[in-house]
């Protein structure tokens, strides 16, 4: 049962986003001031971002104001499992590619990414990792001639 109290509870994510946007835009406006506004006749580098910053403060506050009064947003949620594994795969790639080289990094990135789906099976995932690593090597290194180190640099 939805009651009146639930309806009026507001949308905390929207409120936070609106306030966050307004706060960042205060920073944008202050920073743009330092870049130099110039005049309309000769626009300085800061003029447009300064205006955008002002507009952003207004839009952010408007969004925050509206979310206080709006009902809770249905269906908008962040799938945590996917965020952790997919985000983790990207972070792993960024950290590993230079020390570990392309082959090992891709192999492990694939395995981490596969577990974003709860049904991932170990054997299938290993086969996928091997196949994908080989395919990307074929396309990017062999065909496009990309100069990425393939193996760990301590070997």
């Amino acid at each position: 049962m939805k009651t009146d109290a639930d309806e009026k509870r507001g949308d905390p994510a929207g409120l936070l986003f609106g306030l966050g946007l307004a706060a960042s835009c205060v920073f944008v406006a202050l920073q743009s001031w330092e870049y130099g506004l110039g005049s309309f006749r000769r626009m300085g580098p800061g003029l447009l971002p300064f205006m955008l910053g002002l507009a952003g403060i207004l839009l952010g506050l408007a969004m925050a104001w509206r979310s206080v009064r709006s009902p809770l947003l249905e269906g908008a949620y962040l799938p945590l499992r996917r965020l952790i594994f997919i985000g983790g795969a990207f972070v792993f790639f960024a950290l590993a590619i230079e020390p570990v080289g392309l082959m090992g990094t891709l192999f492990c990135t694939t395995i981490i990414g596969a577990f974003a789906d709860a049904d991932a099976l170990p054997t299938q995932t290993l086969a996928l990792a091997a196949g994908l690593t080989a395919t990307i090597w074929l396309v990017f290194v062999h065909l496009l001639g990309l100069a990425i180190p393939l193996w760990p640099n301590f070997l």
């Binding site: 130099g36 507009a55 908008a76 962040l78 990135t109 990414g113 994908l132 100069a147």
Partner: protein, 496 residues
């Protein structure tokens, strides 16, 4: 006559082995990614952007465009067979298309959809051939004032027709404009919002931004459904031909859908998705038997399918002739052209006319390839669509990472993707659309340049935006776009 000669030269350029190959890769990948529910042409284009840096401008744009219109075909396949639209613009095809499939007429529905798409697309191409040179020569007289005004209409128009809250769409535009200001200012060299990273001096990379918003965020937040068990792949060729009655009933809806789609495609903001929805409701309203709609009426499939493909083609008119994209996908293709050193706009028609005509010819070749790919190979697509996401996600992740890393051989791009991707996820949880952000990002720097130049020439006098007739019309449109919903709300409230 000159047009025909140009077009002939265009076909000659496309029918080389290399360009045919890239066209084929583009439309195949477009069909595949379009057929996958939750993943759209944007992701496909973002994935292939780094690869295009290795290719000549011609080949890369042929391939990217192929993904775009190929996605329109692919989306319909999953809409008809498994009742899950592969792309937003094929949502309407689930209504009658899937009903036809349930009544055992899947083959007819697929054939009708592919043929309507092909013919609608072809008419869109013809319109593009006829109107692009006219619009381009008209736009040659555009100065900075007019450019700024037209871009402003395009940007606000695109934001205001997107579904959901207008306020949130404007927030997205604003974020895009802010991202666009990052990097060194062109005239003064002042480094804006680089946060001390030398990589940001040339601005935040379009490829990284697109991959973050439409790759990283999309695979995390995509509404993935388990579809493997529902797929019906036994579609026989000989069941495909519609009956004489079905041909007759499709004729009117086809023409009306195509006209509506062609018109809406060329306008800013209203892309294939809106065209397909409007074409469907138009047919339902005009029909003498509106009660059969939603129960497998071929009219309800042909009209939106021809509309969205006509719109997909005419959307290139403003992008190529004015340099002003109407939708985010077009903005991405525009960005890809700029990366290749080609500035789309009226001068492109004279300076790079070869490229323009080759691209047009490739549309036709691509649409023909799609017809061939779709009708006999439909079973294969259905099998491919049932590939589980636990296989797809890692492939997309690895392609994004290797793609961005390959551009500068630095991990900086990967971190930018993670950052913009997280922003994309947050935006999705508060229902802020990502497409207007990309529009703002691409149009922002162009608008700033033109505004700066316009005000410099007018010595800081803003009245130039009203004294130029083209700009004055645009400014009125801007006012209408911004004020209309407010006025409607006030009127509604006072009526109550």
């Amino acid at each position: 006559m000159e047009t025909l000669a140009n077009l002939g030269a265009g076909f000659e350029a496309v029918l080389t082995l290399q360009n045919l190959f890239y066209c084929f890769v583009g439309v195949t990948m477009g069909t595949f990614i379009g057929a996958l529910p939750g993943l759209g042409a944007m992701l496909g284009i973002a994935l292939l952007l780094p690869v295009t840096l290795y290719l000549p401008a011609e080949a890369s744009i042929i391939m990217l465009a192929g993904i775009y219109y190929g996605g329109e075909y692919g989306g319909s396949i999953s809409a008809i067979l498994i009742n899950v639209p592969g792309t937003p613009s094929s949502t309407v095809a689930t209504l009658d298309g899937h009903q036809m499939a349930r009544q055992g007429k899947a083959a007819v529905a697929l054939f009708a959809s592919a043929l309507a798409s092909f013919l609608g697309g072809s008419i869109g191409i013809v319109l593009m051939i006829l109107f692009s040179p006219i619009i381009a020569s008209f736009a040659l007289n555009f100065g900075s004032v007019e450019y700024f005004a037209v871009m402003l209409v395009g940007l606000l128009g695109a934001a205001s027709v997107s579904s959901g809250s207008r306020l949130k769409a404007y927030v997205a535009v604003l974020l895009g404009l802010l991202f666009g200001t990052m990097g060194a200012d062109i005239s003064s060299g002042v480094q804006r919002f680089t946060f001390g990273f030398s990589e940001f001096i040339s601005g935040i990379s379009l490829v990284a931004l697109a991959m973050g918003l439409f790759g990283f965020a999309e695979i995390i937040c995509a509404q993935t459904k388990i579809i493997s068990d529902k797929a019906k792949s036994h579609v026989r060729m000989r069941d495909m031909i519609p009956s004489r009655d079905e041909w007759r009933r499709s004729f009117g809806p086809f023409w009306r859908g195509t006209s509506l789609g062609a018109l809406l495609g060329a306008l800013p903001g209203t892309g294939p998705t809106i065209a397909s929805f409007m074409a469907y409701s138009q047919e339902k309203r005009l029909s003498r038997t509106p009660e059969i709609f939603g129960k497998g009426a071929i009219e309800g499939l042909v009209a939106p399918e021809s509309a969205n493909n006509a719109a997909a083609q005419t959307a290139f008119i403003p992008t190529l002739t004015l340099g002003i994209p109407g939708t985010a996908t077009m903005a991405l293709i525009l960005g890809a052209l700029i990366v290749q050193g080609i500035q789309p706009g009226p001068r492109m028609m004279t300076e790079n006319s070869d490229l323009f005509w080759t691209l047009i010819a490739s549309f036709w070749v691509g649409n023909l390839l799609l017809l061939v790919l779709n009708i006999p190979l439909v079973g294969l697509w259905v099998k491919l669509v049932s590939v589980p996401y636990r296989f797809l996600f890692p492939c997309i992740i690895c392609l994004i990472c290797v793609g961005i890393y390959s551009i500068e051989l630095s991990t900086f791009g990967v971190w930018v993707i993670i950052g913009t991707g997280l922003l994309g996820c947050i935006m999705r949880t508060v229902a802020i659309p990502a497409a207007p952000l990309l529009m703002g990002f691409i149009l922002g720097p162009l608008m700033e340049e033109n505004l700066k130049r316009a005000l410099q020439i007018s010595r800081g006098d803003f009245t130039v935006f009203i004294t130029s007739p083209i700009s004055a019309v645009c400014m009125m449109l801007v006012l209408v776009i911004i004020l209309m919903p407010l006025i409607i709300r006030v009127v509604k409230r006072s009526a109550r």
